[in-house]
């Protein structure tokens, strides 16, 4: 086992990554990044008209990015080799989102993890797994 992998053990918790308030302005930026002006991310009146809630809805990939941020912060210099995530519910503007997880396997310089993205007061909205290659010093 490498020195880097030796720092980690199965069952270890991964330090959470928190977004205190999901930003509606960020959704506007992402509509440009994704070249996808779906109004459910931009116009609360459209969200209401579709019966989807009363706040704009975060683009799904932003939620994946929060979970990637957690992994990159927990394993500095790491490479995310593989990541799978499932979308279970919407994240809305103003939500407090917390990505957290734990290590499920350690093999040489690779660590496997499982994680969730949870919304304060509503529970898990994304869940996934990843394989991380550690940065050996």
């Amino acid at each position: 086992m490498s020195d880097a992998a030796g720092s980690y053990a199965i069952g270890d918790a991964i330090a959470p990554f928190t977004i205190e308030s999901v930003s509606a302005d960020a959704m506007k930026d992402w509509a440009v990044f994704l070249a996808d002006p779906n109004p459910i991310h931009l116009d609360v009146e459209v969200v209401k008209a579709k019966g989807l809630g009363d706040r704009v809805i975060n683009q799904g990939p932003i939620n994946v990015a929060y979970m990637m941020n957690m992994l990159m912060a927990a394993f500095p210099g790491c490479t995310i080799e593989k990541m799978d995530s499932r979308f279970l519910d919407n994240v809305y503007g103003g939500d407090k989102a917390v990505a957290s997880g734990r290590i499920t396997a350690v093999d040489g310089d690779r660590v496997e993890c499982e994680f969730t993205l949870d919304i304060e007061g509503r529970g898990t909205v994304n869940a996934g797994t990843a394989t991380i290659r550690l940065n050996n010093p």
């Binding site: 799904g60 932003i62 990015a65 593989k82 995530s85």
Partner: protein, 152 residues
């Protein structure tokens, strides 16, 4: 099972090419804005935030989101939903590096669920290649749920 057998089949779209012609490049400014929009600062080593895997492949694939839906005989206004997204990186996405996309629809499967009624589950695969050629630096499989209100 018996109920699913009674449903009309989903459109036969497996194998539809999603190869793109656009060249996609993450600029330093875009990467900076994206990183800050999700609460982090850009990496110092020239690599882009890994979530660009989703953005780059969606923007530079051979069809728009609405076009993919149209291929599946689904109106994008009816609200496609993301089911899952998986990615395998062979190399990081680099700022300033031009890329192109290849890919295809893998399957479109009609199902009935208690929560959503009748829906088509679309799975497609996209790969991001250096624009100058060579092996893909990443491969992503995305699953969308297309609710079929007209069949509910």
């Amino acid at each position: 099972m018996a109920e699913e057998a009674e449903l009309p089949p989903a459109p036969d779209v497996a194998g539809t090419s999603l190869d793109g012609t656009k060249i996609f490049t993450v600029s330093a400014d875009e990467n900076d804005r994206l990183c800050r929009s999700v609460g982090v600062t850009p990496a110092a080593d020239g690599s882009a935030h890994p979530i660009w895997y989703y953005v780059a492949t969606q923007v530079a694939m051979g069809k728009t989101v609405a076009g993919v839906c149209e291929t599946c005989e689904f109106d994008v206004e009816d609200g496609p939903m993301m089911g899952s997204s998986g990615v395998r990186f062979m190399a990081p996405i680099m700022v300033g590096q031009p890329y192109r996309v290849t890919g295809e629809i893998l399957s479109l499967v009609r199902k009935k669920s208690r929560k959503l009624g009748v829906m088509d589950v679309l799975t497609y695969r996209l790969r991001l290649h250096p624009a100058e050629g060579g092996d893909a630096i990443l491969e992503t499989d995305n699953v969308w749920v297309l609710p079929r209100k007209e069949l509910a």
